[in-house]
Amino acid sequence: CKVEESIGNAVLTWNNEILPNWETMWCSRKVRDLWWQGIPPSVRGKVWSLAIGNELNITHQLFDICLARAKEKWRSLSTGGSEVESEDAGLELIKLDISRTFPNLCIFQQGGPYHDMLHSILGAYTCYPPDVGYVQGMSFIAAVLILNLDTADAFIAFSNLLNKPCQMAFFQVDHGLMLTYFAAFEVFFEENLPKLFAHFKKNNLTPDIYLIDWIFTLYSKSLPLDLACRIWDVFCRDGEEFLFHTALGILKLFEDILTKLPEDLPAEELFASIATIQMQSRNKKWAQVLTALQKDSCEMEKGSPSLRH
């Protein structure tokens, strides 16, 4: 079969050529092209780890320490009665949310094969940078990582991923900064899809309504999981910009319908649609637009009306 053969070839290329020479090769044209076509599942975890990096310098040992602390807290929670401090409410919420993470896959639920891993990563994270803690939506990100990486490596990728500016803004629910992201998104929305943009404006449909879910869960909740992984592939390569780039690709693809995402969304079509989106507005790239908007605090006043105040 041709598809299998090409996946097989891709695996060989990734394993034998790209991964051993990561630093020099990862940003080459050839690798970027191969990357766009989707990373083969067998090397996906490795590539994601390398692309996300480990700016925080988290070691397996540090993960063990955080996990041990989380376990200690859980123990005291289960013996401590009903009065729970608000900082520990997150730990309770994790228990609730684990069973509500991809429930149809039946692998994260109590007794499922990945339940403990998901529990460990989220628990350990609440003991890592205590200023963020557990926020709903994180369980989906951790779950996708677990499907591709070992527990400790998934934790490292998870913490570093959430440490990126866009994820930090959203998970800390930094309202002003979220509005800035929405405003930057709208610049490219109007540029690429002026008719739809006007239609949304007229109907008071603000980007927060659809972007919040997409950005918080990195599309893992709203797209089929294998397709979400392909979005993650390029997100790991291109960073936050690709999340908004994808959103515009989806909007363009469904410009005519725009009601609900169908169950079987063709990957080729979506990627073709994403590829046609211009991520340049008046000669400015995403990062430039975002920075300009961030600097201009007055611009924030003009953000999504529904999230203003």
Binding site: S82, V84, S86, A89, L93, L96, D97, S99, R100, T101, F102, P103, Q109, G133, V135, Q136, G137, S139, V173, H175, K202, N203, N204, D208, I209, I212, D213, F216, T217, K221, P305, S306, L307, R308, H309
Partner: protein, 212 residues
């Protein structure tokens, strides 16, 4: 050009994580129940049209994430609501205690005159019950709200509570509705009325058919 509905209302579901807000909504709009639901991130909504008192009411029901951290986001939707369900779980004392906090948020962020009802969900879980029916009644009375114990699982009081809140919202807007009734046969007049209703809030609320 017959319209599918006469008026549009926005209702909002709030309460702690895991009390069953999404389940209530799915039972009401799709008559479905899943014991393990996917968590709500930020906000979500569903629509349903029901007929109350001869008026076709399109209700847009906003479902919110229960985690406190999300409140910066969810409170933005309060001011667009005409009716609010405050939901707790009868098997969770804590979710009941938190209703006080949710009520004070409503007072702070929702428009004046917003209609509220109190819901004690998961009424089917009698063996795990931590909050007595009379406690729910008592609390509702204190705040001057109607009260229902519901079960999305067994479909207890779902339609009743959604219909009741819709009735309350309709009553609260009775003045506008009288105009609607007397002129109901006249599509043009109806459209005019909706235009008028849209005006007071200015361009930010340009959707014509709702009282925002």
């Amino acid at each position: 050009m017959a319209k599918q509905y006469d008026v549009l209302f926005r209702l909002l579901l709030i309460g702690d994580s895991g009390v069953g807000k999404t389940c209530l909504l799915c039972r009401f709009t799709d008559n479905e129940f899943h014991s393990s639901h996917i968590s709500t991130i930020g906000v979500d909504f569903k629509m349903k049209t029901i007929e109350v008192d001869g008026i076709k009411v399109r209700i847009q029901i906003w479902d919110t994430a229960g985690q406190e951290r999300y409140q910066t986001i969810t409170k933005q939707y309060y001011r667009r609501a005409q009716g609010i369900f405050l939901v707790y779980d009868i098997s969770s004392e804590r979710s009941y205690q938190h209703i006080m906090k949710w009520v004070s948020d409503v007072d702070e962020y929702a428009p004046e005159g917003v209609q509220k009802i109190l819901i004690g969900n998961k009424a089917d879980e009698e063996q795990k019950r931590q909050v007595g029916r009379e406690q729910g009644q008592q609390l509702a009375k204190e705040y001057g709200m109607d009260f229902y114990e519901t079960s999305a699982c067994t479909n207890l009081n779902i339609k009743e509570s959604f219909t009741r809140l819709t009735e309350l919202v309709l009553q609260a807007h009775r003045k506008e509705l009288e105009g609607l009734r007397t002129r109901a046969s006249n599509e043009l007049a109806l459209a005019e009325l909706e235009e008028e209703e849209g005006k007071p809030d200015g361009p930010a609320n340009s959707s014509k058919t709702c009282w925002c």
